[in-house]
């Protein structure tokens, strides 16, 4: 497969990132999200924020290491089950439930990542998909997940003992804080020396190996970080929605996060956030159309791949010759 070495990689941000652009856009985004509940239904916003963090964490892997995982639903879904179970059955406070669940997803990430990074490209996608299907069947059969019913009526409780999460606006700002924490963590990761090595692996792995980097370790570390942050999103989502169900572990959820990131812009900093809001909004407005939503998602996939590969944010950045 060395003949076509000139092929365009899945993400190729040519422009050099300008930290000031990113700071301005980040401030605008934060301001918009702070005032957003005045204009939109908070539950919708919280859902979108969880998906946005999910997509950002997924993008960390595909956008900066070039590994397209088709099984990220396994981290979202299992973290959801963990946090729901811990909060409901063990009665832990929400912050501990969320942290424990994110760590749990990270542990699953260590095992699945160690297997998946043994192959590259298309095989990597197929392996992550197969492993997540395995987790799906596990969740279907394990007693603590309650099979088709899922874990219902998860208590929201009081965060740190005094922040009452059953109050919707309080819950919204807690979710926003978790999202911003995850977003900044990812930003920190991709702009660290570690992140630079990840990008080097994406661009030319044999070269990175020849420079003495143990690329497998870097890839595994990125995989585990991505899984943990997805777990953070999934755990928060379970507390917000007060349930954990099989939908979040199903392969179609893995497809959805790919779609969100693709629509927003693969390998862009803000793209996954925009993509997540667009797709979640679309699903809310089109909920009455039943299975046509799936068809529409498929059409968007095809359209994006054929004509709109940079995604929304990628196109805007390209227009202004900036990197966002």
């Amino acid at each position: 497969m060395s003949v076509d070495s000139v092929s365009e990689t899945i993400t190729a941000p040519v422009e050099v990132a300008n930290p000031r652009d990113e700071q301005i856009v980040f401030l605008l985004m934060t301001l918009a999200l702070i005032v957003a509940p005045l204009f939109a239904y908070p539950f919708f916003l919280m859902q979108a924020l969880c998906f946005a963090l999910f997509a950002c964490a997924f993008n960390l892997l595909v956008g900066y290491v070039g590994l397209l995982s088709f099984g990220h639903a396994m981290f979202l879904g299992s973290a959801g089950y963990f946090s729901a179970h811990i909060a409901k059955v063990w009665g832990w406070p929400p912050e501990l439930a969320i942290i424990a669940a994110a760590i749990g997803a990270g542990v699953i990430g260590v095992v699945t990542g160690a297997l998946a990074i043994r192959r590259q490209g298309i095989y990597f996608s197929m392996i992550t998909l197969a492993l997540s299907q395995m987790i799906y069947f596990f969740c279907l059969q394990a007693p603590f997940t309650h099979g088709e019913d899922g874990i219902q009526a998860v208590p929201q409780g009081k965060m740190l003992g005094f922040i009452d999460l059953s109050h919707q606006m309080t819950l919204y700002y807690v979710v926003l804080a978790i999202f911003l924490f995850g977003f900044l963590a990812i930003h920190r990761i991709i702009n660290s020396p570690f992140g630079e090595i990840l990008k080097a692996i994406r661009e030319n792995e044999p070269r990175a190996i020849s420079l003495g980097y143990k690329t497998d370790r870097y890839k595994l570390a990125a995989f585990v970080l991505s899984a943990t942050l997805v777990g953070l999103a999934g755990a928060t989502k379970a507390i917000v929605a007060q349930n954990a169900s099989l939908t979040d572990v199903h392969w179609s959820m893995s497809g959805e996060v790919v779609l969100m990131t693709l629509v927003g812009g693969l390998g862009t900093v803000f793209g996954p956030v925009v993509g997540a809001f667009v797709i979640v909004a679309m699903q809310n407005y089109l909920a009455g159309f039943g299975q046509w939503v799936t068809v529409i998602q498929g059409v968007i996939f095809v359209a994006c791949v054929l004509a709109f590969r940079r995604g929304i944010v990628g196109e805007i950045a390209h227009m202004f010759k900036r990197s966002l």
Partner: protein, 295 residues
């Protein structure tokens, strides 16, 4: 009836037979995936959806046009093959020179579209498709009852698999195909129309999926999502076998079907996941797959 390890031979052979049949489908589908991957370097995510379209095609032929199973066995792969060639010409061809992952994303989108449309009109329940009259009934082998249709599926798919292997490995056309896989530019320089060959290859690969769909229709019923979960198992089969060898895909397909059947007898809880577990073990021991070449 002699009980073996507390399990009646009847149940054991019954499950082994079911396993072999599933193995036949795994083999046909992974063979198609391997052929397509060889030429186009993409993994065809729409393979499961087109397998389902093949089965629906047989259903429509019977109920709308009154054409029976034997016509479906020929017409359905042709129709789906033609559909595949249109897909290749209008969409996949535009992705030449891009990262191969875009092919995966595009075909995933196509799978969502096809499955979504069928789900809209047919829901999620199964439509019955009768076993053709000529193959109804069965043979009593003494230790078990062997339905004729099931033995037909196994023998016929084995013949199709071996014919495909023969065509690719032993004929002149196959030689062109293998040469174009190695170095398309050079083969074009010899005056062979490689883009047309790519289109035909994709058509052939999905026609195999449609054939599997027709074979599956009387056994598994015709359902819009019949290929959705199935294709993920086939992906695992492909990872286990490695896509390097045609014969390898066939052997791996049948073998994993058998193993799955055995698991259903001895430890039913794991029957859904056994293929994935084997995939994990193979990745640890021999990452390139049982028959794969290291990239």
């Amino acid at each position: 009836m002699i009980p073996l390890l507390g399990i009646s031979t009847q149940a054991l052979f019954g499950q082994l037979l079911l396993g072999l049949i599933n193995g036949a489908f795994y083999a046909l589908l992974s063979l198609g995936l391997a052929v397509i991957f060889g030429m186009l370097n993409i993994i065809n995510f729409a393979h499961g959806a087109l397998y389902m379209v093949g089965a629906f095609c047989a259903y429509f032929l019977l109920n709308l046009l009154g054409l029976n199973y034997w016509f479906a066995l020929i017409i359905s792969p042709l129709v789906v093959g033609a559909l595949g060639m249109i897909i290749e010409r209008t969409m996949l061809q535009r992705l030449a020179g891009l990262d191969h992952l875009y092919g995966l994303l595009l075909t995933f989108g196509l799978a969502l579209i096809i499955q979504g449309v069928f789900q809209n009109y047919f829901g999620s329940s199964g439509l019955p498709y009768a076993i053709p009259r000529e193959l109804a009934g069965g043979t009593n082998l003494g230790f078990m009852f062997l339905p004729n249709y099931r033995s037909w599926v196994i023998i016929f798919s084995l013949i199709v698999c071996l014919a495909t292997w023969f065509m690719i490995e032993k004929t002149r056309l196959g030689a062109y195909l293998r040469a174009a896989t190695e170095n398309p530019a050079l083969v074009r320089a010899f005056g062979i129309n490689v883009p047309r060959m790519v289109t035909l290859t994709y058509g052939f690969g999905v026609a195999l999926a449609a054939l599997a769909g027709v074979l599956a229709a009387p056994i598994n019923q015709v359902r819009p999502l019949m290929g959705a979960d199935f294709i993920i198992v086939v992906f695992a089969v492909v990872v286990i076998g490695g896509m390097g060898s045609i014969l390898g895909s066939i052997v791996t397909g049948f073998l994993l079907g058998l193993i799955e059947g055995l698991t259903k007898v001895f430890y039913p809880e794991a029957s859904n996941t056994v293929v994935f577990v084997i995939m994990a073990i193979v990745l640890l021991v021999k990452p390139a797959g049982l028959f794969g070449r290291t990239a």
